[in-house]
């Protein structure tokens, strides 16, 4: 739970803090396995995620992408090691992870505005007692980073898919994360919203030098925006630059031979 005494540092757009590179250089995932109810979900996953790069996880349904994300988020138990390292190879302290979930399933009739939602996450003062000016400012700054400050007073349920994802991205960026995890962030978002979303993500990657891990089924998006691609099928079966992975035999096997897609 957020510590009420320690306010969350919100980078003001353009401020030195916002522009500062993250304290992390890379994340090394070493022999990571997850078992559930005696069943092996993913096994012996080895990969590196670098700062300033967008790493895309691809694979068919049930390949274990979401399981790996949940392990990295610390939401499920795993065997193996996840090391967070600084530039000189030493362990990095207290790595912050931001998370944008898949298209949120929630009750769209719920009377929660974007501001309520962000304030509930940023501060421990109960939202119904009013939102302080400081927290309002924090929320506005967070929304500005994803070009969505105009959505502040709209109910969450009234947002379009693309707008909602930008609000969720704004939330994930506060406090400034070292690792940003995007789980299929734009499923069901129109072409325009999708473009804006990835533009914003690319901007953040360059500006803040953060590590971004993206799970996506949209191979076109992956081809255009990913710096590295990791192909999974229970374990990592291929990784490298997008063009290398897309041209690999493993890629062919997973995406073409079985289902005849694309």
């Amino acid at each position: 739970m957020n510590n009420p005494k320690k306010p969350i540092p919100v980078p003001v757009p353009g401020s030195p803090r916002e522009l500062a590179a993250c304290r992390l250089c890379r994340i090394e995932v070493d022999h990571l396995s997850v078992k559930k109810d005696g069943q092996i979900l993913i096994q012996d996953v080895n990969l590196h995620i670098h700062c300033g790069e967008l790493t895309a996880l691809i694979g068919t349904n049930g390949a274990g992408k979401t399981t790996l994300l949940r392990a990295l988020l610390g939401q499920i138990e795993y065997k193996g090691e996840v090391r967070h390292l600084t530039g000189d190879g030493r362990p990095a302290a207290a790595v912050r992870t931001g998370y944008v979930p898949q298209q949120l399933e929630f009750d769209h009739s719920s009377p929660v505005s974007v501001l309520d939602f962000l304030a509930a996450a940023f501060s421990s003062r109960p939202v119904f007692l009013g939102i302080s000016r400081k927290v309002r400012e924090m929320a506005r700054n967070a929304l500005m980073r994803t070009h969505s400050e105009h959505l502040s007073n709209r109910p969450l349920g009234a947002l379009s898919g693309g707008e909602l994802q930008r609000v969720l991205l704004a939330l994930a960026l506060t406090p400034q994360p070292d690792l940003l995890i995007l789980d299929e962030p734009v499923s069901g978002v129109d072409e325009n919203g999708l473009e804006t979303f990835y533009q914003t993500v690319s901007e953040l990657k360059k500006r803040n030098h953060m590590a971004i891990l993206l799970v996506s089924h949209d191979l076109d998006v992956v081809r255009r925006y990913a710096d590295r691609v990791v192909l999974m099928q229970g374990t990592v079966i291929e990784q490298g630059k997008p063009e290398t992975v897309f041209a690999s035999e493993a890629f062919e096997r997973v995406f073409y031979s079985r289902e005849g897609r694309e």
């Binding site: 949120l104 929630f106 009750d107 009377p111 929660v112 309520d116 119904f128 969450l156 939330l171």
Partner: protein, 277 residues
């Protein structure tokens, strides 16, 4: 106490307030209804209407246990049983793949049946049937401090739980990624609901208690556009319907609890076509 009564007489010189039982009832309503209005918002948001209904029913079992143990005042066993029962339902719900309404239904029927079996032994149930309907006019001055205590306690816990509950109600997995312990929050909330239900069940009754929790929040939800107006709207609706229902029941000579709930339902139906989106 007398001081409070005098103030009430000065401020509200109405004929119905000349009786002490009406004064007590009014005070009790001013204490109980905001509690339910507040908690109702999250009960509705987290789809727990059926859950709180089951909790209301478990009051019967709590009283029965008190009777078996030969206790004069059944408040303590009722409170304890309510909290244990609420935690048990939540535990099974969290650890089972069965749908929540099936689980709640099982627990609800089990507790009613157990309560009835014990209380009806030797044909003595008539003595406890007042628990089903409740009677706010039977509140005594001695009951009020407990209500004040409950109001304060619930309000303090509520301010701590509200933000986590709000985030969890939008999306549990997202809330977890922000470091919120969903399960703990859920336990906290169910205990609060149990507490409120048990301290007021004697006045409102097993049959109507859930309506008091759900209806004002449901009506306010139709009108509100953000969390602030949602919560305070719900509190306001409960307060107004509570006081108006009490007065109405005095002049119509009917059950106060029923009149209050009927007014809440009326507000809900009026709010329905005004619903946003």
């Amino acid at each position: 106490m007398n001081g409070i009564y005098e103030v009430m007489e000065k401020l509200l010189p109405f004929s119905f307030l000349q009786y002490t039982f009406m004064k007590n009832a009014l005070l009790a309503i001013l204490l109980i209804t905001p509690l339910f209005g507040m908690l109702g918002t999250m009960a509705v948001d987290n789809k727990m209407a059926f859950f709180s209904d089951a909790l209301g029913h478990s009051a019967l079992t709590g009283v029965a246990i008190g009777v078996v143990l030969g206790m004069q005042d059944q408040m303590i066993p009722m409170l304890l049983f309510g909290i244990v029962w609420a935690c048990l339902i939540t535990f099974v719900k969290q650890h089972s793949r069965m749908s929540a309404d099936t689980i709640i239904s099982v627990f609800s029927s089990a507790s009613i049946a157990l309560g009835l079996v014990i209380l009806s032994r030797g044909g003595a149930f008539a003595r406890y049937s007042s628990l089903l309907v409740g009677d706010v006019l039977s509140v005594t001055a001695g009951d009020l401090p407990l209500l004040v205590l409950a109001l304060l306690l619930v309000f303090v816990c509520w301010t701590i739980l509200f933000n986590p509950l709000l985030l969890t109600s939008v999306n549990a997995s997202l809330a977890r990624s922000r470091g919120i312990r969903n399960r703990l929050t859920e336990y906290g909330f169910t205990i609060l609901v149990a507490l409120c239900v048990m301290v007021s069940i004697r006045w409102v009754g097993v049959m109507l208690i859930n309506s008091l929790l759900i209806l004002p929040a449901a009506a306010s939800r139709n009108l509100a556009r953000n969390a602030v107006s949602y919560l305070w709207g719900s509190v306001l609706i409960s307060l107004i319907c509570g006081v108006a229902g009490l007065i109405l029941s005095y002049y119509l000579n009917t059950s106060a609890g029923a009149a209050i709930v009927l007014l809440c339902a009326l507000v809900y139906f009026v709010s329905l076509p005004l619903r946003r989106r």
